[in-house]
Symmetry: C2
């Protein structure tokens, strides 16, 4: 049977009874399925043009999209029973319609160059009858002189190759040495030639995107940098859905692992080809990611991350080999995943602490990375304390009918005039598709300022504007963009219930910061700087975020965007032994405050579910 | 085509042009081919009963056996061209006609039990919301409490399995920990059960025989012990011939490696089956062997061992994994080869120093292991110095027409009456097949005492006995056993040229001992004890060895047989961390005196080519 997909004009060969979402995904027409294909998120909607596609409407009822037309089905609950034609518009539903923006903010690097994986040139003295040390020791003695290493592992393959290499190279050889903590090994030996070069990878595996740098280990230069969406989104938008998929589906864990790798290896292959580099030359990798992503990357069962008491299999996984990780690199090369602090404060966060030098300064700083979870670190050189507060998926477009990630076509900024006209900005200046997290924050701030909502997020339904209206069972909402101006002809709006959802999310983040401070008996005015990492980036308007009470009411100069600190942290560790030592040390010492027990998080949370806060004294500039 | 082999009555399927030796060897009818099948040793002689077997007599001419009958061919240079019938008598030519005797001499063990590979039972505290350490750290913390180890490697497979094991075992698990020097790793984890047991191997890979102990690592008990001939003899009798084979034949190294493994794994399989043990439970091995054997075992090119300046690829190979070594054991288990001192003083010798406690005592001792090479160690707790003197193969039956190894049917003791009658003893009381090393030593001593030879080994041809006669081109010799008394109807004799050969061999050994003493300005009378290890064992008559000047003229009580110290050393290291540390330490410090340069070995050697010595003052008891 054949399935024709428009507007791609691709024809896929399918079997009677195939699941439509699975067919599309395996053909690299990647739809986002936030719920992991369980029919509850309503994101995988496609238009049926012709054919017998059977949709299990009963399961689909969980997600009642108002714009659900008669010819539309949710791919996740649809099976194919004849030749068919469908339409999958290029919009927020498709992952590959967008490109991942690499964040270019530069941060200071205080470390001396010293990569974990390094190539040395060794000139050995030639043996004779009286100086007849064996090849291996002769090599190790010279290596010690150059590196200071006294205990270096050499595997059997190298022991077999060493005698030939030494003589072929006339006693001059190249040795690639990998050092991860106390462990050191020789990864490769060859007769010396000037041309040999070795490379390393700095990798950031995010829930939404994967990014990587290919690094020249001779000098630390970034040769190439690229990003892509994490294709695991097919199986669930957020970490919880992916953990469920990995745990409950047969082969789910392996499927997620392979899918995550596919994106990484795709980027890698392109980079290596373009630069004429052999995968053998890629001798090591450092990977940052949240705890779930690292479990999935390594194929470690993530099941217990979401079951009380939320125990990771490993916060600090030991290094693994390239072939075990499945990366397109030297199979014997080492892959090191940055240490996490707990189930919901991962190696991406410790990478951020490293990259922003929080643990090297006397100044008290807050680092905040807002995604599905708000991960917060408070600290200085003496201590670091962290927590993760469940903001829910709204800042990444989840649970919001017109929500979307910060991709092309997303409304990220907006203004509302006194007569309720809406002016907005979209990412990459495309026709609006939906609204992203920073757009939502701005929307709440301006709606409150214009008196459209009250401090609790209730819409003033009495206002005389057609933008305020009822959306069937979904209740009241506010139209941001009329249908004629949008990318695919449906109006973009925000529901009252969604506004309250965003208020709960911002409350969680603010309460998280307060809980960390309270735990140590500190106050917000002692904080020198609030560092904002991750997806929000430059889109986030600080003033608006303060207005709704998400960020504390501090002077503008105390806030700084730091970009993708996960990738930066991985890059630092890859090329600086000092950075490795530091991140391992401070991660081990960092406190993980579990907000669900034994602290005042719930009280703080409830106090923060007003705009900006029940205690207006905390927000003098807003009052 | 079919080849019938008598007296086995086995029928082998062969191809036109097949090499006869190769066909026999691959059918496990293992002939000794001292020369590696190059047609020069004349050991692979078989009787052709019927069929077209073409023997390249030209190449065969190198070895002119007097008893070479018209119907006999050398299998190594014979090809098969029709159905055929051959006879391969059960005698010294066949390896498998003999069983390897395990040496049972007990030596004192001064070490505290502490195996390199050990199973621990760990009871972990169950996590909760406030004590929420991850699984891996929780496990490592408990492991540290029990073992004191702070830096333990855990591989990816175990990281994946750990969370399930912990919960399945209700937080009680078994962990197998391997420690080799500073390196420690967890080799296996499973939910705890009382029944799990782990085992280790102590292995001795000799040029002639392989032996192994299967050891219960819970308490160090030897569960089973077995030995077999090293089938590599098909490719050469001594280390030099095997190095040549490994270097010059295509796939020669791999062939030798596989052939050596076959014997070991055969023994191992029988042991494991008999004791109901799964190879997975065999979690580690310690291997002793001379430097060449270890190169071959590990598949490391041995080429440079025999090329000046005789440099080993590795005297102290690092541990390898079971699957790399190819042993029938847990593929992830570690295999450690005992450290060598040089190309011709191997891990079998350092094992001997360990087993005899030379490096723990104030007493000055000599350890001597006589095979093809005489390996000698002189030392005490303060120093150890070693050398290898090339005795040639005569003590193992090589280069001696009627020579053979110390196997069933070998003459090991003899006496000659004044009227030239010869009384002899054979091993296992079988009809005499040939004469072994200790038999030769005894023969020389009694022949000299009876005036049959002079101090230089010249036969007194004038004596009136038919035993002294000419053997064609081979010159004069002395008949030890007339043909009617021997196992296969040919007389057993010793040639004058062979007697001189033995004198050179004993001279090399004595000169080696003297050179070591001279090098340090010491004299023989300071030596407390001379320890005799290896093949000679109890067969060697000390008085006769002193008479011919092979051993120094010391009182009988200063000599001690110590048996197979290689296997004992391996066993000690396997089950005692202390012994591991000691052997690594003293091996590193042990001097290797290269006798071919810069010392007085040649002078000592020439002085020793008389019986007992040119300087009779050195042998007061003989004079």
């Amino acid at each position: 049977m054949e399935l024709r997909v428009l507007p791609d004009e691709r024809v896929l060969v399918v079997q009677e009874g195939d699941n439509l979402l699975a067919v599309l995904n395996r053909s690299d027409i990647n739809l986002i399925a936030s719920c992991g294909g369980r029919g509850s998120c309503g994101r995988c909607l496609v238009d049926v043009i012709a054919g017998d596609l059977r949709f299990n409407r009963k399961r689909g009822k969980k997600c009642q999209l108002p714009e659900w037309a008669a010819n539309q089905v949710l791919a996740c609950n649809t099976t194919i029973h004849s030749d068919a034609v469908i339409m999958v518009p290029y919009d927020g539903r498709r992952l590959n319609a967008h490109k991942v923006l690499l964040n270019e903010i530069e941060l200071e690097n205080p470390y001396e160059f010293g990569p974990l994986f390094r190539r040395y040139s060794l000139q050995l003295p030639e043996p004779n009858l009286t100086e007849n040390t064996d090849d291996l020791n002769r090599f190790l003695i010279e290596l010690r002189k150059v590196t200071g290493l006294t205990d270096v592992r050499v595997n059997l393959d190298l022991m077999r190759r060493l005698p030939g290499c030494l003589r072929e190279g006339n006693w001059r050889v190249s040795a690639v040495v990998s050092r991860v903590g106390n462990y050191a090994e020789v990864s490769d030996v060859s007769p010396w030639t000037l041309a040999d070069k070795v490379y390393g990878l700095a990798v950031d595996i995010g829930t939404t995107t994967v990014k990587l740098n290919l690094v020249d280990l001779q000098d630390g230069t970034i040769i190439a940098s690229a990003g892509d969406y994490n294709r695991q989104q097919q199986y669930g938008d957020d970490v919880i859905n992916r953990i469920i998929y990995a745990t409950e589906e047969p082969d789910g864990l392996d499927m997620l692992r392979q899918t995550g790798l596919a994106a990484l290896n795709g980027l890698l292959e392109a980079m290596l080809t373009e630069n004429g580099i052999n995968p053998q030359q890629v001798v090591g990798a450092v990977v940052a990611g949240n705890t779930t992503m690292i479990h999935l990357f390594l194929g470690i069962p993530p099941k217990w991350l979401r079951l009380e008491p939320y125990i990771p299999a490993a916060t600090t996984p030991q290094w693994v080999r390239g072939y075990e990780a499945g990366l397109l690199m030297n199979p014997q090369g080492l892959v090191f995943c940055l240490p996490a602090v707990g189930s919901y404060v991962g190696g991406d966060v410790t990478a951020g602490v490293l990259a922003t030098q929080i643990a090297r300064s006397d100044d008290l700083r807050i680092l905040i990375d807002i995604g599905t979870n708000g991960e917060i670190v408070l600290g200085n050189r003496d201590f670091q304390i962290s927590c993760a507060c469940s903001a829910g998926p709204c800042f990444e477009g989840g649970g919001i009918k017109c929500g979307m990630r910060a991709m092309a076509g997303a409304i990220d900024k907006l203004e509302i005039t006194p007569d309720y006209k809406v002016f907005f900005n979209t990412l990459e200046d495309q026709k609006p598709v939906g609204i992203c997290g920073s757009g939502l924050i701005n929307a709440l701030a301006v709606m409150w300022r214009r008196g459209i909502i009250d401090r609790q997020g209730n819409l003033k339904r009495s206002l005389s504007t057609p933008r305020i209206k009822e959306f069937g069972d979904d209740g009241w909402g506010f139209v941001l963009v009329e249908s004629r101006y949008t990318a695919f002809g449906r109006e973009i709006f925000v529901l009252e219930s969604e506004i309250k959802n965003v208020i709960r999310a911002k409350a969680a983040i603010f309460a998280g910061m307060r809980s960390l401070l309270n735990h140590l008996g500190l106050t917000m005015d002692l904080v020198t700087e609030v560092l904002i990492a991750g997806g929000f980036g430059n889109s986030l308007n600080i003033e608006n975020a303060i207005t709704i009470g998400m960020l504390p009411d501090l002077p503008a100069e105390k806030f700084r965007y730091v970009g993708n600190t996960a990738l930066k942290g991985a890059q630092l560790v890859l090329t600086h032994q000092e950075a490795y030592t530091e991140i391992v040390d401070f991660s081990r010492g960092m406190t993980y405050l579990e907000l669900s027990v034994g602290n005042d998080f719930m009280d703080e949370f409830i106090s923060a579910t007003f705009m900006p806060h029940t205690d207006l004294a905390l927000f003098p500039s807003v009052r």
